[in-house]
Structures are given as structure tokens and as C-alpha cells.
């Protein structure tokens, strides 16, 4: 993966304009009848740690050699007593 491909489009601005968006607390229910808190952490982590676009390019901060999923699951298992005491 290169950050300077042939025929690269001209960089319009540097630093790139970050357009502020309306940032406000979400008051609506995420999906019908399902508040965020009710989403089980374990279901969330299935997706967040094993899903999503994975970038391995040089632009990202290197977590090379770190198996995110493995690390996190180990953390979960070792903290299982903590988890079990949650409502």
C-alpha cells in the first residue's frame, strides 16, 4: 500500500479541512427498543475486534505484531470475574 500512487490527485489542502459536525448526545434509541447499554459486550467485541476494515498501511500507528483479538480476549478472560459482577 503506497501513499503516493501514480497519478495521485493533487492534495487540495494541507492540513485537510476537517469539517466540524453537529456533535451532541444521542437521545434517540439506537434501534427500535434496544438501548446501547443492552448490547452485550461480548456481541460487540465479536464485531469490533474481528470485523471492520483492517488497515495495515504505513499511515497507521504500528500495532504490528500485536494480535488485537488475542490480546483482548485474554484480557476478557482474565477479567471475567469483573464481567460476571456486572448487571
Amino acid at each position: 500500500m503506497t501513499t503516493q500512487p501514480n497519478g495521485a490527485r493533487p492534495v487540495t489542502t494541507h492540513p485537510v479541512t476537517a469539517q466540524p459536525m453537529t456533535a451532541h448526545p444521542v437521545t434517540a434509541q439506537p434501534w427500535p427498543g434496544r438501548p446501547y447499554e443492552e448490547i452485550a459486550l461480548v456481541d460487540l467485541l465479536d464485531r469490533l475486534l474481528a470485523g471492520g476494515v483492517v488497515l495495515t498501511g504505513e499511515v497507521t500507528i504500528s500495532l504490528a505484531g500485536v494480535d488485537l483479538v488475542h490480546l483482548s480476549l485474554r484480557a476478557l478472560i482474565s477479567s471475567v470475574s469483573t464481567l460476571a459482577t456486572r448487571p
Binding site: L45, L55, V59, R74
Partner: protein
């Protein structure tokens, strides 16, 4: 904080993201977009000390941090998914600065576009199924059984429980395979996750299926109905969603 903040990237969306409303992100930071061409990255600034590679490594072992970050990451993506097509990034994708984000958009334009096209107008649904032992409840020991002595009765009862549990796993696995086949028929893509650790799920029954399905929004109802038809005393079927398409965002590595 020492040094400039880092850029946490949540997701890629079509640019310009008109009227997109987003909740605060990780650590309560304001969420903004960085645009390049037809793509925009949804980002927020994070503390360099706390989100640098080294502290991340340590943080990933911290369940409270992991949960907070996961929920914040999810809230941003979930809020977007209810408004426009979204390609979620793996949790804790962190770049040095906004210029890096713009380069990322440019360097991965075909991959990001491919993911956005794949998920456009579609929803992810999660389906979990548990094999539950079914059968007559343990009969109280009658006179005939008692004849063999209390030890024998106990052993026979234990063996009966064990056999039923084994059978349930077998039947559950068969049913779960059928369920997966049927749901795949309703979907444009399917992904099977490993069964969740019972210590994390808090469920004692063996997990016979842990899968995600990408369906056209219009087909979500038929997927739900199909999953519900498999829900039985021997196979508890649970549906979650709709999710942002986390499970269907893989890109083919260049």
C-alpha cells in the same frame, strides 16, 4: 498531554456527508470528517499519551477501557449507520494526523468504495443459537430403581443427564447447520464467528451458531421470521441487530 493529538478513525462514508449527525466519540471528543474526493473519514482527536502504540498495548488488557472504547466506537458508527451507508474500521485504528487520514482515503479508495457498495441499502443481523437439552425431567427414584441401591440410582440419573446433554449438542448442531443454510439463503453474505466463551456470554448451553448475515433492508423481516421458525425448546435462537455492517467490511489486501 504531550505533543499533538492523534486521529482516531471510526469509519468511511460517502463525501460529502450531508446533514450527518454524530454523537461524541472516544473520550467524549467531538467527531468531525476529513474529506478527500468522494470519500470522507469520520474521525476524532485522541490523546497521544493514551492512544500511542505503547499505551494501546497496555490498554487492551484493561477491560474497563476496552468496554468504554468499544461502546464509544460503536455509538459513533451505529449513529451513522442509521443515516447513511458506512464502512466501519477496526476498533482502535489510529493515525498520526488528518493529513495521514487524507492519504489513507486516497491510497485505499478502491477498497473503501468496494465496501461501501457492498453494504449500501443492506443491514447486518446477528444470530446466535444455543443447544438446550430437552427430555423428561429427572424422575424421582421409584421402588424398582431403589432396589439397586441409592448409589446405582444416582449413577443412572447422572448418565441419563449426560446422554441427554450430548444428544442436545448433536441435535442442536444439526439444527444450527440447517438454520445457517436457510438464513444464508435470505442473505447476500454470511459470516460465522467462533462460539462465544460461556464465561463471557454467561450462557451455560453450548453455542451451536454465532453468525452474522448481510441482508437487503427489505429482506430483514423475512430473515427474522426464518430465524424465529427455528427457535424451539431444543435450539434457542437469538437475533441481534440491525448492526452496522461490521462483519462485512473486509477489504482485499492490495
Amino acid at each position: 498531554m504531550t505533543g499533538a493529538p492523534l486521529c482516531y478513525v471510526y469509519a468511511i462514508v460517502d463525501a460529502p456527508p450531508h446533514h450527518l449527525e454524530v454523537c461524541p466519540g472516544v473520550d467524549g471528543a467531538a467527531v468531525t470528517t476529513v474529506e478527500r474526493g468522494e470519500l470522507a473519514a469520520v474521525v476524532s482527536l485522541v490523546d497521544r499519551d493514551r492512544f500511542g502504540a505503547e499505551s494501546l498495548r497496555a490498554k487492551l488488557e484493561d477491560l474497563d477501557w476496552l468496554e468504554q472504547t468499544a461502546r464509544a466506537h460503536h455509538q459513533v458508527i451505529d449513529t451513522i449507520a442509521r443515516q447513511i451507508p458506512v464502512a466501519p474500521l477496526r476498533m482502535a485504528t489510529i493515525l498520526w494526523d488528518e493529513r495521514g487520514v487524507a492519504e489513507l482515503l486516497q491510497a485505499n479508495r478502491p477498497e473503501f468504495t468496494e465496501v461501501l457498495e457492498r453494504v449500501r441499502g443492506r443491514e447486518e443481523w446477528g444470530v446466535k443459537a444455543y443447544a438446550v437439552p430437552v427430555g423428561p425431567p429427572d424422575a424421582p427414584p421409584g421402588p424398582a430403581e431403589s432396589a439397586g441401591g441409592p448409589g446405582t440410582t444416582y449413577l443412572m440419573r447422572k448418565r441419563g443427564q449426560r446422554d441427554r446433554a450430548r444428544q442436545a449438542v448433536q441435535t442442536g448442531a444439526d439444527l444450527a447447520r440447517q438454520l445457517h443454510e436457510v438464513l444464508t439463503g435470505h442473505s447476500v453474505a454470511a459470516r460465522v464467528y467462533p462460539p462465544q466463551d460461556p464465561r463471557l456470554s454467561g450462557r451455560t448451553e453450548p453455542m451451536a451458531l454465532n453468525a452474522a448475515y448481510l441482508v437487503a433492508a427489505a429482506d430483514a423481516e423475512s430473515l427474522r421470521a426464518a430465524a424465529a421458525r427455528f427457535d424451539s425448546p431444543g435450539l434457542r435462537v437469538e437475533l441481534t441487530g440491525p448492526w452496522a455492517p461490521y462483519s462485512f467490511a473486509e477489504v482485499s489486501q492490495p
